[in-house]
């Protein structure tokens, strides 16, 4: 009973944070389950997959209703992510996972640096509105209403091939290493493709559920998903994600970026250290 209550509360927290940032919350759930509750890593990974899907589905309801996400960008880039995820799952054991942890860890640290630079950029959260042949062909440009700034923001994007490759790498990482790829998705859209942060986060939320569903069947049928853990966690995360998706819309993009930076810094350090054999 006590552990169920703890899982429920943790789920609410992970759901709120995940919905705001477009990440799955595995980075919070896995250490709490393994270190605090002494759970086998296998069940912790199964639990975080359920958390990713619940965050994604719970928040996407609100983001679709409020026109915050970009459905075309999501489906277009989802091709890259799902192909990456399948290749990753098939290639498990071919590459050294330590090397990959170091590689992706350092990439996150580099992204942290980029995000901090953007935070202190005098132009602030500038919106890219230029034309690009790929963006026009695939009708990727869109618009959203920013409740914090109380104005409609039309946006375009660039570097679509770069974003596509990054999304493929994000899928590969999730397939090979069993980690969520939400942070990489947000970085691909925000930093590489120059999409505004809010639609980037909302679109990542939609996408990460689809990516996670691809690997969730593996974990479901091999018995990694325990009902006593998944049930309270899923309910908590669904509630949290519903709240978080509303909260995100009234936050200023700059504030969301300030929450995002320490999280990817932590993830980057955690992954790089893991690659060198240190677990934190």
């Amino acid at each position: 009973m006590n552990s169920m209550l703890l899982l429920l509360i943790m789920g609410v927290g992970a759901g709120i944070l995940g919905a705001i940032l477009g990440i799955g919350g595995g980075m919070i759930i896995t250490p709490v389950l393994t270190i605090m509750m002494g759970l086998d890593i296998k069940y912790a990974i199964g639990a975080s997959i359920i958390s990713v899907i619940a965050t994604s589905s719970g928040s996407t309801i609100a983001y679709l209703k409020d026109d915050m996400l970009n459905l075309r960008v999501a489906m277009f880039l989802e091709i890259a992510t799902t192909i990456g995820a399948i290749m990753g799952a098939l290639l498990v054991g071919v590459f050294s996972s330590n090397f990959l942890y170091v590689l992706f860890g350092f990439f996150l640290l580099y992204s942290t640096y980029n995000m901090i630079r953007k935070l202190f950029d005098k132009k602030g959260e500038s919106v890219y509105t230029g034309h690009d042949p790929i963006v026009d062909k695939f009708k990727l440009a869109s618009t959203y209403y920013d409740k914090a700034e109380q104005k409609q923001i039309d946006y375009s994007m660039k570097n679509v091939p770069g974003g596509f490759i990054m999304m493929w790498a994000a899928g590969l990482a999730s397939g090979l290493l069993g980690i969520g790829s939400g942070a990489f998705k947000v970085i691909a859209m925000d930093t590489i493709m120059k999409m505004p942060l809010k639609p980037s986060s909302a679109t990542s939320n939609l996408m990460m559920g689809v990516t996670a569903a691809a690997s969730a069947t593996v974990y479901f049928f091999n018995g990694s998903i325990r009902p006593d853990i998944a049930a309270p966690l899923a309910i908590g995360v669904l509630v949290g994600a519903t709240v978080g998706a509303r909260l995100m819309q009234v936050l200023k993009p700059r504030v969301i970026r300030m929450i995002f930076i320490p999280i990817i810094l932590y993830m980057g350090v955690q992954m790089a250290l893991k690659g060198f054999g240190v677990n934190i």
């Binding site: 589905s57 679709l64 799902t82 869109s142 689809v210 325990r226 049930a231 899923a234």
Partner: protein, 128 residues
Amino acid sequence: MQSTHDETRKVELVIGKILRVGVITSAIVILIGMALYFMNGAGYPTIVKNGQSMIDFPKRFSDIFAGIIAGKSYAVIMLGVFLLILTPVLRVVVSIYAFYKEHDNLYVIITTIVLIILMIAMFLGYRS
């Protein structure tokens, strides 16, 4: 550009409504399972696995459905969790239909490719 966006709005609202039905359904099934657990317990024996004792639970469809018919709470929860796993798939399927209704053939193709890749991945998962 504006007309493209108006079309997209309609598509998004339809997908949002159907996704909500899917999410609420899976949440209700999980909650029923939890209620059964507090009334009758898990319904499965305790086993020892990797030195840790835990309550067993069903993983295959046949075991899950047999458990639901017997009113076992863990089987009901596993069904709810599986329905939750299907909600992202539902999103992709409804997107295909919605883009089709909007005569956006390019995105019918793109979204169908996503669905096919997703199905292959899920099938590989079931077999492994």
